[in-house]
Subunit: 193 residues, 2 copies
DNA sequence: CAACATTTGTACCGATAGGTATGAAAGAGG
DNA sequence: CCTCTTTCATACCTATCGGTACAAATGTTG
């Protein structure tokens, strides 16, 4: 009971996500956010908490929405298919017309002042978790005979992660989808599998 | 003539560079900068101009100092040696003890608010210029029979750039030098040359 | 030593940052 | 219809942002 909320909370989170995505955590001001969401400042605070909490919720929505393909990619049957889908999916996501270029986990807070440091750490941990998930998947692939014996799963995961991050940086700089796809091609061309 | 400046201008630039490198353009406040440089605010402004001008001068110093190895790398005799040196040099620079982790051209201003947008564009242009320089070097390599015919110099340059940026992101997250070196190994392992 | 040019330190500027106090508005439940 | 609970809009808070006015200090030059 009480006065009903006049905006959809998930739509609001989507709008906020786009602002954080484009401007990063530090570059996104409360004024930017309230303007994009179409809601007054106290309403934002009541619904999501402070800026940091709002970012964390937007990040969560990012991971479960635009970036959810990574989870599906890891369920592909072969290591090769996993890598294929991770990289091509990133090329798509990083350059999707309706989104800002790049990846929130990379450009959300790569280097920042003290105030944003806990967000930077959270994103760092997110990326590390992604690398761990890849390594686990490659561990499995190896036990399934899906990866050559001379390939270290952790090294492969780190390498794929580096290519993913590199594509995100290029997309943040305006690289087109086809250019990113050629990066993927180069990275895939001579993979040890 | 007039009262002599009480600080060394290049030392000051080095200090400012470290702050921008660690915190990015937006995250580095004037207070951070004056404190690190050990100079009062009006002195900083008199010596370098506003924050934007100071960043550009710090970037210039970065390119001519810590990042100067890239120019040398491009002068290596073979494409393979060029790539080798570029990647291993990046692993070193990104994780050098005395520097912040990562690369100023990547984390200086990857995503930011409007106030920092011209810096973002400058860094984007810097990265693009680096890719062009690599492409030119690979063009030459191809004319020298140093690259297989089926390798597109622009694609190779973009791919190497992506790996470089990816390593920078990982270093910004605290990746060790040996981990970056293993990324380099993976990237080099199966290069088409 | 005196005149001058420049830098230095202090103290301040308006604008904006993130965040909130407060009362009116809007429904749900009795 | 009246009460109660929650949200909404305005207006404001303090701290900090980038940037500067001004006068004392420090040399160089004649």
């Amino acid at each position: 009971m009480g006065r009903p909320r006049s905006f959809d909370i998930d739509r609001a989170l989507d709008r906020a996500l786009l602002v954080f995505w484009r401007k990063g955590y530090e570059g996104a001001s409360l004024s930017d956010l309230t303007k994009a969401v179409g809601v007054n400042r106290p309403s934002l605070y009541a619904a999501f908490g402070d800026k940091e909490a709002l970012f964390r919720k937007a990040l969560d929505r990012y991971l479960k929405g635009p970036a959810a393909y990574t989870q599906e990619a890891l369920r592909e049957p072969t290591a090769r298919a996993v890598v294929d889908r991770l990289l091509l999916g990133a090329a798509d996501l990083n350059t999707a017309r309706r989104n800002p270029g790049g990846c929130l986990m990379v450009q959300g807070a790569l280097a920042c002042g003290e105030a944003a440091d806990s967000i930077r750490q959270e994103l760092t941990a997110c990326r590390a978790a992604g690398e761990v998930a890849m390594r686990r998947r490659f561990d499995r692939a190896k036990s399934e005979g899906d990866l050559p014996a001379n390939v270290n799963p952790a090294d492969l995961a780190r390498y794929i992660a580096a290519v993913l991050y590199g594509m995100a940086v290029q997309a943040a700089g305006g690289a087109s989808r086809s250019k990113l796809q050629r990066v993927v091609e180069m990275a895939l061309r001579t993979l040890p599998m």
